[in-house]
């Protein structure tokens, strides 16, 4: 009896601490974004705002370069994701359905690229982007993001395609369909939910990328959200505009969180097969 009570207490204690640890920073971001700056910079801190205001949001949305960075992020993350999905659905079909020489090596290369250190291509990409004249443009980011979005999409989509029974392919083959037709008319429609989940994760990864975005852009012509948020600056090193930073963080985080919650099951599938399931 006593051990039961003890283990129940331990259970709820770990649960409570865990949830607090996970959720508090998120809560703190939202609460701080709604505080007027007088309250933001007053000790002792208020854990629930005494006065709610949308001033920080107004300031963020009036900031042209921040709004522009959101647009840039959509173009870059969307572009990299669409291109990756298009190319990877073909590759995934070949890997899931055919046996051919070199398949093993292909899988190793694709998987190996998921741990690829971005820094190893940074110098090469930087000089290359400048030589090609695409430095500080969308293309520099879209193309460089495909280093990680493309292998990721191939890997995850391959496991989704494998779940589709291949009797459907056989039936289509007997009807005289070419591989290309099977891919477009049979596989892609059936892999719809998998494509959405894969695309979403790839989009989130590209949306959140920082090192390439920081290095391959110079100003808000192509600068993305993570760079804009990281480079928010105030009058001096010690006077960062925290109200604005928390509001901007909320603006870019809440949509992603909502998307993740809506597609929770698929996202979890994508994440687990992306890393471990193999």
């Amino acid at each position: 009896m006593i051990t039961r009570i003890l283990s129940r207490t331990a259970f709820y204690l770990i649960l409570a601490i865990g949830l607090f640890y996970i959720l508090f920073p998120f809560y703190w971001m939202i609460v701080n974004s709604l505080k007027p700056s007088a309250e933001l910079f007053a000790t002792p801190l208020s854990y629930w705002p005494r006065q709610l205001t949308l001033d920080n949001y107004r300031a963020v949305l009036a900031d042209g370069s921040f709004v522009r960075s959101i647009f840039n992020s959509f173009v870059v993350a969307g572009g990299a994701t669409i291109l990756s999905l298009a190319l990877s659905s073909m590759a995934a079909y070949a890997l899931a359905r055919y046996r051919f020489a070199g398949k093993q090596a292909t899988l190793y290369i694709i998987l190996g690229m998921s741990t690829f250190p971005q820094i190893a291509v940074l110098g090469g990409l930087f000089t290359l982007a400048r030589a090609l004249g695409i430095y500080n443009t969308y293309w520099a980011l879209i193309l460089s993001y495909m280093i990680f979005t493309l292998p990721f999409c191939v890997w995850v989509l391959t496991s989704f395609v494998k779940e589709i029974p291949d009797t459907l392919d056989e039936a289509a083959t007997i009807d005289g369909a070419s591989a290309w037709q099977i891919l477009w008319k049979v596989i892609i429609p059936l892999a719809g939910p998998g494509l959405v989940a894969t695309g979403l994760l790839s989009f989130i990864n590209a949306w959140n990328e920082f090192l390439f975005a920081l290095t391959l852009t110079a100003d808000n012509q192509a600068r993305t959200v993570p760079v804009a948020v990281a480079l928010f600056s105030g009058q001096s090193e010690h006077e960062l505009p925290w109200g604005k930073i928390t509001a901007a963080s909320t603006v870019v985080t809440v949509p992603v969180v909502l998307l993740a919650l809506m597609f929770q099951k698929r996202i979890v599938e994508g994440l687990t097969s992306g890393a471990v399931k193999g």
Binding site: S7, G18, L107, L111, G112, T115, P117, L122, N208, A230
Partner: protein, 297 residues
């Protein structure tokens, strides 16, 4: 005989289609991955920099300089320390939390959904957020610890060399515990219930069941998670760049390489550091792939 011939042509058709379908992916990966990588390797053997037009081939000079640079070794030490400490914390907390979420209780759905939140927040956004929480005057960490009486005076967590790295480790742990939880949870659900029932009949208590049944069943999943997280932690850049900038107490190898290359304009020297990071990660990736056993797919 005829059948044999037909089978052969079918295989040949498949192989041709496979090559055709994989070609675009490989072309792109070669252009954006392989080519810049070989360029980085080439540059690491030259004295290329932003200030001179012509780069000279200097053999291993950049590597020799790198190894005699104490800043490189300090950055390597910081990186390894960060990776080991944060992954260890993530794995221990992640397993604990996965065990909790594997139990049936009201609100489990909510808890599992909440678990996803840190995972999808951009690393730079999360880093800014934690930087604000660590603020020496207006940060919530100091405020809470002062109220609880755990510290007497506010601490400048990120400016103090003895706390900065630990502050970053705590942040990274928050960001990635949910990832470990997710993966451990997936393999916990694969453990047959009969094993626990059998252990209970044998008189094993909850702790014995965890050590004798759960841990051995999770062993391979945990090993994979550890290597995967280590490979990611060794590449750490965003968190440190945002939270402490180029402060020597926390600078990592990726930051060192980028600083040499982009901020100092020493492309050759920075490339040499990049190549060493690449080799380190490739070595780890080989271990990782052996664990996953791609053949089984």
């Amino acid at each position: 005989m005829i059948l044999f011939k037909r089978a052969e042509t079918l295989a040949a058709t498949h192989a041709r289609t496979a090559v055709l379908f994989l070609a675009p992916t490989f072309l792109v990966l070669a252009a954006v991955g392989l080519y810049p990588l070989s360029r980085t390797i080439w540059l690491s053997f030259t004295d290329a920099n932003f200030f001179a037009d012509e780069a000279r081939f200097v053999w291993f000079d950049n590597y020799i300089d790198l190894h005699s640079n104490p800043d490189w070794w300090a950055a390597l030490y910081n990186t390894v320390f960060f990776a080991v400490a944060s992954v260890a914390l993530q794995v221990v907390l992640g397993i604990a939390f996965a065990m909790v979420l594997n139990v049936n209780f009201t609100g489990r759905k909510f808890a599992r959904a909440a678990n996803l939140i840190p995972l999808v927040i951009a690393l730079t956004v999360a880093s800014q957020l934690w930087k604000w929480m660590y603020h020496d005057v207006f940060g919530v960490v100091n405020d809470a610890l002062l109220r609880l009486g755990l510290i007497q005076d506010p601490v400048a967590w990120l400016n103090n060399p003895s706390t900065a790295l630990w502050a970053i480790i705590a942040m990274s742990t928050w960001k990635f515990v949910p990832f470990v939880t997710l993966l451990v949870l997936a393999s916990l659900q694969g453990i047959p219930k009969e094993l626990y029932e059998a252990a209970e009949i044998d008189g094993a208590g909850p702790i014995a069941r965890f050590i004798r049944v759960t841990l051995p069943m999770l062993k391979s999943a945990i090993a994979v998670v550890v290597v995967f997280r280590m490979l990611d932690a060794l590449r750490v850049f965003d968190i440190v760049y945002v939270m402490t900038g180029n402060s020597p107490a926390t600078v990592t190898i990726s930051m060192f390489a980028r600083q040499q290359m982009i901020e100092f304009g020493l492309v050759g020297a920075g490339s040499a550091a990049s190549v060493e990071i690449f080799l380190l990660i490739i070595l780890g990736t080989m271990v990782y792939m052996r664990m996953l056993k791609v053949e089984d797919r």
